[in-house]
């Protein structure tokens, strides 16, 4: 507090936005105030994320707030820098309120000295004042270097604040890393925060399953992300609701299926499990073996609706039928059965 000049800002450190509105960012002007604000914030949750850490930061006298971001523009297949003279709120909000202030500059493929000049010229339109431009150029350049060095998908400084003394300060920042790039950055992998995921999502990740928790009653196990999403859509279009997104992946190690079934069956809201497999590399008999093993090893109290088609389909279906389970070949039929089940048990 002393080194910060007797005043400070206490900020909740959670992986979500809207902290200010939730009261999780407080200005304080004494050690006592700082202690009580910090302990209050530490007992809060912001959008369901419990606050475990606070940051004690310098209190700035802010004159203006800008937005600066680096991201990949999928349509032009390039890294772009985005700057807005309106900052401090979500970029989506800026886009809605002051879209004319959002400007883009293509960064990729240009790493020579000309970039610096072109970037300065581009930034001058947003920052106008020469002293600010001189600070903004290295700021954006460094953000770009970080973006490339650490395989980011977003580096955002918001607000990029101008103090009353004319100093440009990164008052807050957000970085999103490319999931495909993390493998080459063990330092970033170590930063992974388990609180970002539900317990089920964490276990699924360890098992090599792609899983997202949702709020419905039909547990889904599907092979392939596109088919998994489409299965959720068909559930919705037939009047049901999915409890999760789950892609068991291309190869169907029976143990993966067991883990998937186990994760699904723990969900208290669950009324039915829907298995939708289109076998290609995935073999239907492997999936069937996994389902049967899961039923033996774990208590599964809900009905299981199974759709199996493709590689080794006859073998898989036979195994399941002999165990008293019913199997269908059509996705829409299976989804309809699952939706009926989910309603019948309500």
């Amino acid at each position: 507090m002393t080194t910060l000049g007797g005043k400070a800002i206490i900020k909740a450190q959670v992986l979500t936005g809207g902290r200010g509105k939730a009261g999780a960012i407080r200005a304080v002007s004494s050690v006592e105030e700082a202690e009580s604000a910090a302990s209050e914030i530490l007992s809060m949750s912001v959008k369901g994320f419990p606050v475990k850490q606070v940051l004690v930061a310098e209190m700035l006298d802010i004159r203006a707030e800008y937005y600066a971001g680096i991201t990949v523009d999928r349509e032009i297949k390039s890294v772009v820098s985005i700057v807005s003279a309106a900052g401090g709120m979500d970029i989506e909000e800026i886009a809605a309120k002051e879209p004319e202030k959002i400007r883009r500059f293509v960064m990729s493929g240009v790493t020579d000295s000309n970039t610096g000049e072109a970037l300065a010229e581009w930034l001058s339109e947003s920052f106008q004042n020469q002293a600010l431009i001189e600070q903004a150029v290295p700021t954006v350049e460094n953000m770009y270097l970080l973006f490339r060095e650490k395989d980011c998908s977003l580096v955002e400084v918001n607000p990029l604040a101008v103090t009353v003394h004319g100093k440009l300060v990164a008052a807050d920042a957000k970085i999103v890393f490319d999931d495909n790039g993390v493998v080459r950055h063990p330092d970033i992998e170590r930063l992974r925060n388990p609180e970002e995921y539900t317990a089920d999502e964490l276990e699924a990740r360890q098992t090599g399953l792609s899983f997202v928790s949702l709020s419905g009653q039909i547990g889904c196990m599907v092979n392939g992300a596109g088919l998994a999403m489409a299965t959720m859509d068909v559930i919705k279009s037939l009047g049901g609701s999915a409890a999760n997104f789950l892609d068991v992946g291309g190869s169907s190690n029976p143990q993966k299926v067991v883990s998937a079934m186990q994760i699904l069956s723990r969900n208290k809201n669950l009324k039915v499990i829907l298995v939708n497999i289109f076998g290609g590399i995935t073999r239907c008999d492997d999936v069937a073996q996994g389902i049967l093993k899961a039923r033996q090893e774990h208590r599964i109290n809900v009905p299981i609706v199974i759709r199996l088609i493709g590689t080794n389909e006859e073998k898989g279906s036979k195994m399941l039928r002999e165990a008293g389970l019913s199997v269908t070949r059509r996705m829409t039929d299976a989804v309809r059965d699952a939706v009926e089940c989910s309603k019948g048990r309500q």
């Binding site: 349509e75 596109g226 068909v234 290609g280």
Partner: protein, 317 residues
């Protein structure tokens, strides 16, 4: 083959296409090499650095693409190389005479693809993928990993960002006797070598294709771009399905795309854009076949005028 059958050429690949497999000695590479050979694809060799001189099945393995191309005359390559090495494998193919590269590999970092995309742009090379099931022209050639038995020859061109969902749709179409001219998986990654637009243009100009199925999903705005292209330049009937209409916002949604396009990227925007372009967008995969069979689709089945060609090679990147 029937006697007197004329040789028909489909888009991208056909019976004459000579294919090499990069990563042929790997588990997936060797498995799918066999499957492609069984389908009748002219797989003529493979590449795995350090394993030149070995054999996979009946095929020679070379140390590099240059040797493989020199010995086999292949112009098409399918890449099964792990993500860490796949960009270099694609680069090597592009630099050594391969003009069509199909990259199956999943997990390539997006920044690698940004750099690669711009490198390839200036060469006469087409990249399909990455993270895609590949290309199949039923009855002629398969360069990829799709279960070929679900396919049937016919006149429907299929373009998709997904793998298994495409198999689902194709299976249903084939059961209802709607065969396919060519099916292309363009890949599920944020940055892919070939877009919907490139393929829409090819299918529009392909006289073996009567109608087109477009399978999209949430994220980015490739479907919106396709819609405006369709509006101006495609006269053939198109039926579309967009997956992820029930996916919650914020989860797995491409944040970058949402920022830049302000309001674009969700499923509804894609559905609306396609509908405005006259495309029939259905709610379930099994309605695609129905919509193709329906005589009245809201979009007239046109008589393509050969003089009305789209011209140039705007789609070739």
């Amino acid at each position: 083959m029937l006697k007197g059958e004329t040789v028909t050429v489909s888009i991208l690949v056909d019976k004459q296409t000579k294919v090499i497999v990069q990563g042929i000695t790997g588990r997936d590479g060797s498995f799918h090499t066999r499957a492609m050979l069984d389908y009748g694809t002219q797989v003529v060799g493979g590449v795995t650095p350090g394993k030149g001189g070995q054999k996979v099945d009946t095929l020679d393995v070379f140390d590099n693409v240059k040797d493989a191309v020199g010995h086999t005359g292949a112009r098409c390559s399918v890449v099964f190389v792990p993500a860490a090495f796949a960009p270099d494998a694609i680069r090597e193919a592009a630099e050594n005479g391969i003009t069509l590269i199909v990259c199956i590999t999943e997990g390539i970092p997006v920044l690698d693809m940004v750099d690669l995309y711009h490198e390839l742009k200036d060469r006469s090379v087409r990249l399909i993928g990455p993270n895609c099931p590949g290309i199949i022209s039923p009855g002629k050639c398969k360069v990829g990993i799709m279960p070929d038995h679900v396919h049937k020859t016919g006149g429907i061109g299929v373009i998709s960002r997904s793998g298994t969902l495409t198999y689902e749709v194709v299976y249903d179409m084939s059961e209802k006797n709607l065969g396919q001219s060519t099916c292309v998986g363009i890949g599920g990654d944020p940055i892919v070598g070939t877009s919907y637009i490139d393929l829409l243009e090819m299918f529009e100009n392909d006289d073996q294709t009567d109608a087109i199925v477009l399978i999209g999903e949430i994220g980015g705005e490739a479907e919106e771009k396709a819609a405006s292209f369709i509006n101006k330049s495609v006269s053939k009937k198109i039926v579309a399905f967009i997956s992820g209409r029930s996916a919650p916002p914020g989860k797995r949604m491409g944040h970058a795309g949402a920022i830049i396009s302000s309001g674009k990227g969700g499923a509804e925007a894609k559905v609306n854009a396609l509908r405005e372009a006259g495309v029939v967008v259905v709610d379930r995969p099994d309605q695609i076949a129905e919509a193709l069979l329906a005589a009245d689709s809201g979009r007239p089945m046109p008589m393509p005028n050969p003089l009305d060609s789209l011209g140039g090679n705007a789609g070739v990147t």
